[in-house]
Symmetry: C2
Subunit: 664 residues, 2 copies
């Protein structure tokens, strides 16, 4: 197929995009019109995929990192024959409920590998997919896992810090099966890229160790040749495709308005004349559609051969491969965690929260070989360096990715791993620096990906490193995020319970937060049930009469609440302590359970070494809060708790104040 | 002064750091020991500064971006004679209340230019300072503003995305007075940098257009020569200083433990023997201290000459310079905003929130030449491109910085500008992407910097771009942040009021959030007072009897609440509408005012096209909420409001449900 023969295929993308955008009244034509030849080259000659089985585990992955150009993806999925993308779907572009949403929304069964739009996320996801592929390839071999990850990327993604982090680390790790096609159109939403960048982008990639090829992005043959070179090169590849934004719309092409300037019927008609496309809107001539559908079937042989190889695997290996693809936990894991809890109760040693998390993670290692850990320049929270090999250029069997001081990439890498499947990703750093990866955490929540975001140094307990390193508002800000579960366990038993819940939770991310300082054991008897499973529970019921006070605490403050309870009980005030390791799960419980935990008609005091924001929903009109009034300070942890009044004495005093003002 | 003569000066830094860290029992010795010669070269030969007047507006700025090495800064401030850093301050390193906090904490009167610790922030602040200098230099000339900005930086800052964003844009803008000294010690907290980076860092800077010099960081003469070259070169400069981390501590130097491995008395004694430093802890010999103090006085002539030049300025120019240094608003500004409000009431046109913000910002231009705007690849929210010139390599008088798609750098740049002084910085992007700059917003709040963070596209009103672009949790997450005011005005009048409050607020940042869609006028009569000044107020009081319902709303939902009120009043239910443009200010009001606004014993319904998280503190036990249950969706804005039930009908129904369940 020559450039001339391929031209109608590329134009089919162009006109489906134009027609859908004109019909919707808005959209971003810049990418689909500018990258039509590149997409045609990739999908008709190189991509390994099967529209009949969009979730084929060994398919090549395709990420449209410049997600605003969503019509490019939808047109490709339509033309190659994905069931969810019939012509009616395209006609409903940007309508409520359409599969063709404004930006691509994660739906692997439909052929959408990942939600994109926020710039830089997509290429960092692609990086994570390439890491997951390399790791699985090392484990299962070329016959079972051996695919490329392709990403289309615009200038915005590369200007973003996360994009730069990705360039640096992908080069370091020499991820040879990661291939980017850069839409070098010299235009961003703001105008010419020359407003804000002068550097030679190709040179920047080369400095980081990438293989770079520069081509005319409208020359399909040249792009295809570059893809061949890219696939052969052991380095990650960046194909710099010089393109004209919105090519085909004479009024806008090559200009700022090409990005998303409104398209009118007249533009569509002019483009049809210009490009010699006499067909009606949404009408793709049969020969062109046939050529595309045949491209959609080009991997059928490879698909069948792969199925045969999987079927021929030894039974145990096949079962294991299928287990991790399905995301099922192995037998024995629950029992191992329960045994850990039992031991913790028996020894009843206070231990640093991060040590506890490290122990639990070490314990998981033999059970979950599919788990991968990304770590941003520290090892404390999971202590994995002890028990996991590093994932390196020369050894892809390591499950521990040294991400460097690149939290944002780490989070988005984990999302890409989870979207890839076959891997359980963890991302680990200090809680204070969760803000650096927050945009990626939001994407995990939005996509419903089962990523485990793990954090240490969860409060002023950090001590002398001071307020920059002390989270106070971060628990609240994460709890505000839809579909994000935030766990803050009080001791080793709750930690194991929360890890079990997080590992079983598949429809969204979990955040697990651990103290740097020692956590006293608050669970002093072994319980057969997972008490954290309802989000909050009565840890110590009131004694000597009807409950008058409920103290609600999380994490390291649960032990303080227990001490406060002892003081109150000694004064004859019947007081219960509620431990609330996960607000989000508690909020899902029925009203009767919630009332039984929080207490009806009691005074309630919440205790958390963080801001009050978000706590009032549990406090009612007789509520108090003991926590942080604002940012922390630099000083020893004990001095800070004293200074900010997060003490048993103050908790007890607050409870008594509430009682006297209401009962009295 | 030769290397030999300077050695005791550098060692004075080393041993003050060692002594303070040993005494505190913890700290990060890697930087002060590794960068002692670099710091000595800079402070004894190049820096323009005056310990007797730490806030001299034309001083060179010094940023310790690798802020964990705080003892380097404290030792320098002590040795050069800053009043806040007597030897007792050093002896209290890391104690509660010490000026020598774990990480440097913003205190310009003491000589600390900016809080650092979270990696990458410091060099991005330094970038902002260099932009502010260039802008002020263009306005006031070399005689009044002409200084360098120096930053020390470690590997972590350069791995962070924000650091990479800075490299790219500083190179593009050719900020020749920005000079970095890179502590190239090949070690991070995680171990060798080779774990996570392979690229040639100097080459990466050169690609971006920087001047790079590579030197032995322990050769003071070589460093000093490089600083001379750096100051002369028109490009921004990066001096790559090859160093040995923790140099002087034989047990740790050049190794991972050098970063912050615990130091013992024995290490201190061994270092004293090794380096020939027989002096007692905290004892700096008189000749060495004299040499340092004399370095502290080296800019005295320059200081007096500068004072004379300022004194000789024409009166009006001098007054203007002093006004902007003091951060005072000019006469006439308030009146101009009031006139705008009056016009808005008279015309009573519904306008897009972003258009309103743009109009107000255009109006500010003649009054506030000290205002600078950083914009991340869009112009809509302030529409400044209309009214401001771009700040470019060839024209430093432009107040509009095209930041490219680099939100994180933009935010930290604004912080650096505010810390620099003489400039009022704004940073503008979509609210959904505030997460990308959130770490910088946190630093603004922590430092109490008067940055204005401006956002558009504040809700599902974004419509068809879908949930990636629709903030739902972001208002809550920003309200959770201490010392951050979040404004969400309901119409043009409130917008002008909120801008006035934000401009007058000097002790912390303000976030201003605008709708993309049209805002109906809810303020239909002109009020002499700024009604937004108390955070919330009764916009429409209940009529026809005692108030039974309070509807509390913000932004675009205030108009919906007014419609709901009309329905309820029509049914004889006395209903008030409260507009709450700023929760944080309302929370500071006295209890009586708050009760009078929220209503006592009434049903209360909060209405906001965002999550409920944080609203319960206003709702009491008879509260309802009409807003978002989770993430949004892709579809027309009106359809989304209908779909999620954020409608007058639903608000009224919720109010009636509450009434019937409680009154009935």
């Amino acid at each position: 197929m020559s450039n001339t023969e391929a031209r109608p295929l590329a134009d089919a993308i162009r006109f489906l995009a134009i027609d859908s955008i004109v019909r919707a009244g808005e959209g971003h034509q810049g990418v689909p019109l500018g990258m039509a030849e590149i997409a045609t080259a990739l999908f008709t000659r190189h991509m390994k995929f099967n529209p009949a089985d969009p979730q084929w585990p060994d398919r090549d992955r395709f990420v449209l990192s410049n997600g605003h150009g969503s019509m490019l993806l939808y047109a490709l999925l339509h033309l190659t024959g994905y069931a969810h993308f019939g012509i009616d779907a395209l006609k409903s572009f940007r309508e409520m409920g359409s599969t063709c949403a404004g930006h691509p929304e994660f739906e692997p069964a439909a052929g959408i590998e990942v939600t994109t739009g926020p710039l830089g996320q997509g290429i960092a996801n692609a990086f994570g997919m390439a890491v997951a592929e390399a790791y699985q390839n090392a484990r299962f071999g070329d016959g079972i896992v051996d695919h490329y990850t392709y990403a289309f990327v615009g200038d915005g993604c590369l200007q973003e810090g996360i994009g730069q982090e990705m360039i640096s680390l992908a080069g370091h790790l020499q991820l040879g099966k990661l291939i980017l096609c850069w839409d070098d159109n010299q235009i961003t939403d703001d105008g010419s890229t020359s407003l804000s960048i002068s550097e030679d982008v190709s040179a920047r990639f080369r400095v980081a160790g990438w293989h770079v090829v520069e081509v005319d992005g409208h020359d399909l043959e040249a792009v295809s040749a570059a893809l061949v070179m890219a696939r052969r090169d052991p380095r990650p590849s960046m194909i710099a495709c010089r393109t004209v934004i919105a090519r085909g719309i004479a009024r806008l092409q090559g200009q700022r308005g090409g990005h998303s300037g409104k398209l009118f019927e007249a533009d569509s008609e002019a483009a049809r004349r210009e490009l010699g496309w006499p067909h009606a809107p949404f009408d793709v001539p049969a020969d062109v559609l046939d050529a595309w559908r045949s491209a959609g079937r080009r991997s059928e042989d490879a698909y069948r051969a792969w199925q045969a190889r999987v079927a021929a695997l030894p039974a145990a290996e096949r079962a294991e491969f299928e287990r991790i693809q399905a995301g099922r936990l192995p037998d024995g894991l629950r029992e191992a965690l329960e045994a850990y809890q039992r031991r913790a109760v028996e020894t009843s040693d206070a231990q640093a929260g991060i040590t506890i998390s490290g122990e639990i993670n070490d314990l998981l290692v033999p059970y979950l070989p599919e788990r991968m850990v990304g770590c941003a320049d520290l090892e404390a929270p999971t202590g994995h360096k002890r028990s996991l090999k590093a994932f390196t250029t020369s050894d892809r069997s390591g499950a521990y990715v040294h991400c460097g001081v690149r939290e944002h990439l780490m989070g988005a890498m984990a999302n890409g791993m989870a979207a890839h499947g076959g891997v359980i990703p963890l991302a680990v750093t200090y809680l204070a620096f969760s803000d650096y990866e927050r945009p990626a955490m939001r994407m995990a929540a939005l996509m419903g990906l089962p990523v485990k975001f793990v954090f240490s140094h969860d409060s002023i307990g950090v001590g002398r490193n001071g307020p920059t390193h002390q989270p106070v508002e971060i628990l609240a800000s994460l709890r505000a995020m839809p579909n994000m579960r935030v766990f803050r366990p009080a001791d080793a038993v709750e930690a194991a319970e929360c890890w079990m819940i997080a590992l079983e939770h598949r429809s969204g991310p979990s955040t697990l937060v651990f103290a740097r300082q020692a956590l006293l054991m608050v669970r002093t008897t072994h319980a057969a049930a997972n008490l954290s499973q309802r989000g909050a529970y009565v840890l110590a019921e009131a004694e000597g009469g009807k409950r008058r006070v409920t103290l609600i605490a999380t994490g390291s403050e649960v032990a303080l609440a227990l001490e406060a309870r002892a003081r109150l009980q000694a004064e004859g005030i019947a007081t219960a302590v509620v431990s609330m390791p996960c607000c989000e799960i508690f909020d899902e419980q029925d009203a009767a359970y919630r009332a039984s935990v929080l207490g009806v008609g009691t005074a309630r005091v919440a205790v958390e070494a963080a801001v009050r924001f978000g706590w009032d929903r549990y406090l009612g009109e007789r509520g108090g809060f003991v926590g942080m009034p604002g940012f922390g300070a630099s000083g020893p942890a004990e001095a800070l708790y004293e200074h900010f009044g997060i003490t048993p004495a103050h908790i007890a005093a607050e409870a008594k104040r509430l009682i006297s003002s209401h009962e009295g």
